[in-house]
């Protein structure tokens, strides 16, 4: 080994200073503000009392929060279970080239271009039984449909709205993954006598793994933070049936001005998302590679 002694150079710290400043102002300082709120009871700007973990304890025991959390998990789970397979199926049925591919891409991505509160408004009107096409049709079919009165209907409508709004994103990502597969793979599979299912299972799905991982993470994070659309559509009702975590948090922070519990909850919320993303990412990194199985057989 060479015996070069590296000179100690502390000037390098100046080079990373801009990054430290950027991260500090964009992430760390705002987060610390929330931490600050979460451990104090701020009665007035000059009168704050340190309360330790009291807000955390109380928020963890909040029954409404538990209900909202389960509702949220169920919703995000349903979103992933529907949108990912549906998006992949959509991508598989999209034309691969020619002008039709461009036309289909534009049509598919239309719903992604609509502002979120407009999506809520569209579905609010769409689902009405008097003037909305969707609600009117269901009513005409003899269904007693009402997203304002029936919790199940409200829930399904929010889910349907999310599927309508975001499946195209999954489809576009999956489509990009499919387009990157060289033609030779399909030719080889055809020579090897692979069935359509085998082509999907052994070529298309493995090659889409990377983009699907991104799709799952994006859809999970985004659906876990859903706020605008159900707020516009149902306002969280009927009752609390469509009150998801973000809306619950807003009610606490702005509606009731409970800054301490709201801050404590924000931190927990943040940690939950972080944890789920971490678990999902690591699980998806492993699944399909079968490193563990291959060692045994």
């Amino acid at each position: 080994m060479s015996a070069i002694v590296k000179p100690v150079n502390q000037k390098a710290w100046w080079l990373i200073l801009p990054v430290i400043l950027c991260v500090a102002f964009s992430a760390i300082i705002p987060l610390m503000t929330v931490v600050n709120y979460s451990v104090q009871d701020i009665i007035s700007p000059d009168n704050a009392v340190f309360v330790g973990t009291e807000w955390f304890t109380s928020i963890m025991r909040d029954e409404d929060l538990h209900a909202a959390l389960w509702r949220q998990l169920l919703f995000s789970g349903a979103v992933l279970a529907i949108e990912i397979p549906l998006g992949v199926a959509l991508a598989l049925s999209m034309p691969a080239r020619s002008w039709r591919a461009s036309a289909v891409l534009v049509i598919v991505s239309l719903s992604l271009l609509i502002p979120w509160n407009v999506v809520g408004t569209i579905w609010q009107i769409f689902g009405r039984t008097d003037i909305g096409l969707f609600g009117w049709t269901l009513a005409r079919l003899g269904l007693d449909y009402s997203y304002v009165g029936n919790p199940v209907h409200a829930w399904l409508t929010v889910l349907l709205m999310d599927v309508w709004h975001w499946t195209p994103l999954v489809a576009l990502l999956a489509y990009a993954g499919l387009q990157s597969i060289p033609e030779a793979y399909y030719q080889a599979a055809s020579i090897d006598g692979a069935s359509k299912w085998a082509v999907f299972r052994y070529i298309q799905l493995p090659k889409m793994r990377g983009v699907l991982m991104i799709a799952v993470l994006l859809r999970f994070m985004d659906s876990f933070m859903i706020y605008t659309e159900p707020f516009v559509l149902t306002g969280g009702g009927p009752g609390n049936s469509t009150t998801f975590l973000s809306q619950y948090l807003t009610q606490k922070a702005i509606g009731q001005f409970d800054m301490g519990p709201a801050a404590a909850f924000s931190l927990i919320y943040f940690l939950i998302i972080l944890m789920f993303c971490f678990v999902l990412y690591n699980w998806m990194l492993r699944v399909g590679t079968r490193d563990s199985e291959a060692a045994h057989d």
Binding site: A184, S190, A198
Partner: protein, 359 residues
């Protein structure tokens, strides 16, 4: 296994106006059962198109392809029972090496013990036995291409195995070894192999029969020796050999003597050449420096002498044409700029009119 007959033409364009629109001009070829064939030609000559037509990935726009006399023009690759290996390795990432090799058999519902036996045999031939349980995705490019080759060879009942420049991604020293292996496998399994390449050494060492292609046409089919000794077309003469055949414009006079410019080259015995302009072709390997200033030789100015391992390559100018001459490695080469005399007419000299062999 099958005898494959091609009587077809192919154009990728929908409307065909001229010969240039054809990827393959009308042709009539037979691949005999159990033969080792090479399709050799420069890029864009139609060799990959022909391969894809044989495998069924491309349907010819005109004509038919028959397997053992049965028309298979519209059959899928599966129905034709063809195996094909592509230029770049295609492997199934999520499978192990063994599963990759077994894939074509599993898809055809071959019994498990038979699969194990075939995979074991092919893996042994390709030196993959120790890696059967490894994941294929993590291997190097040449190992991946060996898997592709293995998948092509694993089915014992295929009509033919087609190779589309399969050794492009392989290191030169492994290329030699793999080519030898393919040849050995051909002897052991007796499969019909068709091998596409633009590398003449690869074609000549691999195949019993080489089809030289140019601009959508098969210009000559023959053994490697045929292509070397009697190129039927000036393209073959020039394309085969390194460097290729020397081609010079000459004239046959009424007495049967051949003239280059104002220089008499001689009168080839036992050849009835048509009177008029011709192209004379002679390989650098058969050109010799003539001693003295004897009759029937042409003067040439030496422009370059290079040592190329087993021989010396001499560049010389005859009139306004460049000529290459192979000299033995131990010969004393003439100095650059010196005048030498070349005997162009000899037993290995060929004559062409309109690029076609006439004698």
């Amino acid at each position: 296994m099958a005898r494959i007959e091609l009587q077809l033409a192919h154009s990728y364009a929908r409307t065909v106006r001229s010969d240039a629109d054809y990827a393959l001009l009308p042709l009539d070829i037979v691949f005999e059962d159990g033969g080792a064939y090479a399709l050799l030609g420069p890029s864009g000559c139609g060799k990959t198109t022909m391969l894809n037509i044989i495998s069924g990935l491309v349907t010819p726009s005109h004509g038919a392809i028959r397997f053992d006399g049965v028309d298979r023009t519209r059959a899928t690759p599966q129905e034709r029972n063809i195996a094909q290996v592509f230029q770049f390795p295609v492997i199934y990432d999520t499978m192990t090496v063994g599963e990759n090799l077994a894939f074509p058999l599993r898809n055809r519902k071959v019994p498990a013990d038979r699969i194990r036996e075939r995979v074991g045999r092919i893996a042994e031939m390709l030196d993959l036995s120790g890696q059967l349980d490894q994941r294929a995705a993590n291997l190097a490019a040449d190992a991946k291409q060996k898997i592709s080759l293995g998948r092509g060879l694993v089915r014992p009942d295929v009509s033919a195995v087609l190779f589309d420049e399969p050794l492009t991604v392989i290191d030169p020293h492994l290329k030699w070894e793999l080519r030898r292996k393919l040849k050995q496998i051909h002897h052991e399994l007796g499969l019909t192999l068709i091998y596409v390449t633009h590398d003449q050494v690869e074609a000549m060492t691999f195949a019993d029969q080489v089809l030289v292609m140019a601009r959508g046409r098969v210009v000559q089919q023959g053994t490697p020796a045929d292509l070397f000794e009697r190129p039927r077309h000036t393209f073959v003469g020039h394309f085969i050999g390194s460097p290729g055949m020397n081609l010079l414009p000459v004239e046959v006079r009424a007495d049967g003597a051949i003239w280059l410019g104002g220089q008499r080259l001689g009168r080839p015995e036992a050849l009835a050449l048509p009177v008029g302009p011709l192209t004379l072709g002679i390989r650098p390997e058969y050109l010799r420096l003539a001693s003295g200033d004897g009759a029937d030789t042409v003067p040439a100015t030496v422009t370059q002498v290079r040592h190329v391992g087993t021989s010396q390559l001499l560049g010389a100018r005859v009139g306004d044409r460049d000529v290459k001459v192979h000299l033995p490695a131990d010969a004393e080469p003439p100095a650059e700029g010196a005048i030498v005399r070349l005997a162009l007419v000899g037993p290995h000299t060929r004559y062409y009119r309109n690029e076609e062999l006439v004698g």
